[in-house]
């Protein structure tokens, strides 16, 4: 099985609602990072959360990390149509080089 799994694979909600996306991984990590990707575009960095942190906020974004369950969640509050995109989590392992291991991503659609 692949490391870095997001669920749901696709999420469709109404504008103004909150969107929650989850991510799991299999190894011990140094940090976990969330990215947004609009269709056919580059990866935009959203938040980095370190293994010794449990929660971080950035504007309407809230990220949690549970290292005992090897999982993370991304919450987008008061969603907007412009939040429509794919969201990926990616983790860096503790040992070894700095590479990121990506999940499959969640396709989020915000309906106006």
């Amino acid at each position: 099985s692949q490391q870095g799994e997001e669920d749901p694979q696709a999420l469709s909600i109404q504008e103004g609602e909150n969107a929650t996306m989850n991510c799991s991984y299999k190894t011990s990590i140094n940090n976990l990072q969330w990215y947004r990707q609009n269709s056919g575009r580059g990866l935009v960095h959203l938040i980095l959360i370190r293994s010794n942190e449990r929660e971080k906020h950035s504007g309407r974004l809230r990220v949690t990390l549970d290292t005992s369950k090897k999982s993370s969640s991304l919450l987008i509050t008061a969603s907007r149509a412009a939040d429509t995109a794919s969201y990926f989590c990616a983790h860096q392992k503790i040992q070894g080089a700095q590479k990121l291991v990506f999940g499959q991503g969640t396709r989020l659609t915000i309906n106006p």
């Binding site: 870095g4 056919g40 960095h45 990926f88 070894g96 590479k99 990121l100 990506f102 999940g103 499959q104």
Partner: protein
Amino acid sequence: EPEVTQTPSHQVTQMGQEVILRCVPISNHLYFYWYRQILGQKVEFLVSFYNNEISEKSEIFDDQFSVERPDGSNFTLKIRSTKLEDSAMYFCARDVSGNTIYFGEGSWLTVV
């Protein structure tokens, strides 16, 4: 956000041809990466480049691939003899202090 400029934004090439993708990161950062994303799939690590040497590479990064930083500024990915399955978006990325990894807008490669 530190900028990573990639060229070309899109390239169409015939199978068997050589392709060079370029990345111009801001200087004074040691870690650079190439990732790729086949259409509809997750982002995959190709290679990391540290202090002008390859520090890690994936199974994807076979002998057809090479990386260079020829002039101390541009960072290139060369595919010697392209195959149909090399069609993908290729991302250059750089490591900012604190392990945050920023990606460029990507180069679409279409092999026909």
